[in-house]
């Protein structure tokens, strides 16, 4: 049963200093999907995620959550930022804090924290201060914290951008598990292989415009737009 989905994005526009950083973007997200937002640096991928998550307000257009709990949509979402933000506390305390903010009773938290750390393969780091974790561990912890919230929609901003292959693989496995458990995923990524492996739908952005929207298989087989074609070719070089 959906609390906030489906999502309709209509004419989404964001201007700063007179420049349209996002220009009249419209699309829908149905429950259960994994949508990858692709495009070159500065295309507006992170900005789109922030607007969808309600961290920034659009200059025009709307982000319309259509489920029964739309009024408090953000409480049914979670986001992992391009540079994950961890509190200056232990790994376990980071997850416990998030659960407590989202109203999970104290009695149930310890178990869910342990479970989340276990699933992320971070059980041994539970008491380590998050500030001293490696880049890959930070990313995994942020992901574990987000998924512990059982969000209906999870936003991921380049979840493996700065990771070595082994860590990237662990993060991808975690994403697959979260998706399989029923969470709808909207992610920004540069990694064609990753988009191919994870996504079922692609939104291709360039210069703040939604240039192409297609099923992942169709997009990678034969992109319709010249821009996406050039991008795929460039990224593969």
């Amino acid at each position: 049963m959906s609390a906030i989905l489906p999502l309709s994005v209509r004419g989404l526009t964001f201007r700063a200093d007179g420049r349209a950083l996002l220009d009249d973007v419209s699309f829908d997200v149905e429950p259960g999907g994994c949508v990858a937002i692709m495009g070159p640096n500065g295309a507006g991928k992170s900005l789109t995620l922030r607007l969808l998550h309600g961290l920034a307000a659009p200059s025009a257009g709307a982000v319309l959550w259509q489920g029964p709990r739309a009024a408090e949509a953000r409480m049914h979402q979670a986001m992992v930022f391009q540079r994950p933000i961890l509190l200056r506390r232990s790994a376990a305390a980071n997850i416990d804090y998030a659960l407590s903010v989202r109203g999970v009773a104290k009695a149930k938290r310890a178990e869910r924290v342990a479970e989340a750390l276990e699933q992320a393969g971070l059980a041994e780091l539970r008491d380590r201060n998050a500030r001293v974790l490696s880049g890959g561990e930070r990313q995994l912890l942020a992901l574990a914290r987000a998924s512990a919230l059982n969000p209906e929609v999870l936003f991921l901003d380049e979840p493996t951008a700065s990771l070595a292959p082994a860590a990237a693989k662990r993060v991808e496995q975690a994403i697959v598990a979260i998706h399989a458990a029923g969470t709808t995923i909207v992610m920004a990524t540069h990694d064609l292989g990753q988009a191919r492996r994870l996504a079922d739908e692609i939104l291709f952005l360039q210069d703040g415009r939604l240039v192409e929207r297609a099923a992942a298989s169709a997009f990678f087989a034969a992109p319709k737009s010249r821009e996406a074609h050039a991008y795929l070719k460039g990224e593969l070089l």
């Binding site: 998550h53 961290l55 953000r74 409480m75 979402q77 979670a78 986001m79 930022f81 933000i85 961890l86 509190l87 200056r88 506390r89 804090y97 998030a98 903010v101 989202r102 380590r128 201060n129 500030r131 001293v132």
Partner: protein
């Protein structure tokens, strides 16, 4: 020169044998300044955090005001607190004038702006780091302040210790509202001023030495705490 040397020797002897007057004065000083700093922190830390986090009309003006009040002359604070606590003042019914309570009140008022201003700066830094995450989770305003104060506690301790330093070193305000009454409201700074004026250099120097020692100890503590906090953040050796 000889007078100073003799005074110094006498001062050390007083400290060594824990002279009753000396001990009483030191304990009262510490009690007053510690109480003042605790009370001031209860107000100043949330205030500093709120100024760092919330956007409201007039926020800039309040920040400028707090920064300006940081340099408030102690005698002016003494005067204001005196007026409030004097028999005809709005708080005169408390009967606090010329008691340690009045001195605590004066020092509290004196250090609130200092602690709030320093706290605002370090919380603002932490807020830039945390903002997106706390908003993403949907943390409410009060909890946001509590989170920032807790996670910034080591940096904030520096603010609190700076407040203690200013409170303990101040003469003007406590002498006005405390009256420097022997065995009742005499603290280190007021005693030093009085004893020096009377030419009683031994007690003045003894207190001076202890005041410096306390200030040094506080600074060492601040340094050690910061080091410890950094140590916790440093990568563990395998």
């Amino acid at each position: 020169m000889r007078e100073i040397a003799e005074g110094f020797a006498a001062a050390l002897k007083m400290i060594a044998r824990l002279d009753a007057d000396l001990v009483q004065i030191v304990l009262l000083s510490v009690r007053v300044s510690l109480s003042a700093v605790i009370l001031a922190s209860l107000v100043a830390l949330p205030l500093g955090a709120a100024l760092a986090v919330f956007r409201f009309p007039g926020r800039r003006a309040v920040v400028v005001l707090v920064n300006a009040l940081m340099g408030l002359p102690p005698v002016v604070v003494g005067l204001v607190v005196y007026l409030f606590l004097s028999r005809s003042g709005p708080l005169g019914f408390l009967g606090w004038l010329f008691t340690p309570a009045a001195m605590i009140a004066a020092q509290t008022v004196l250090v609130i702006p200092l602690i709030a201003a320093v706290a605002r700066q370090s919380i603002a830094e932490l807020w830039t780091e945390y903002e997106d995450e706390l908003r993403s989770l949907g943390v409410g305003p009060l909890r946001t302040l509590a989170t920032l104060i807790w996670d910034g506690r080591f940096a904030l301790l520096t603010a609190v210790l700076a407040g203690f330093g200013r409170a303990a070193a101040e003469v003007g305000a406590v002498i006005m509202v405390g009256g420097n009454i022997a065995h009742v409201t005499r603290v280190m700074t007021t005693s030093i001023a009085l004893e020096t004026a009377k030419g009683e250099l031994a007690l003045a120097m003894g207190l001076g030495i202890l005041l410096m020692a306390i200030s040094l100890a506080v600074n060492i503590a601040a340094y050690a705490i910061n080091e410890a906090a950094r140590g916790r953040a440093a990568p563990e050796k395998a």
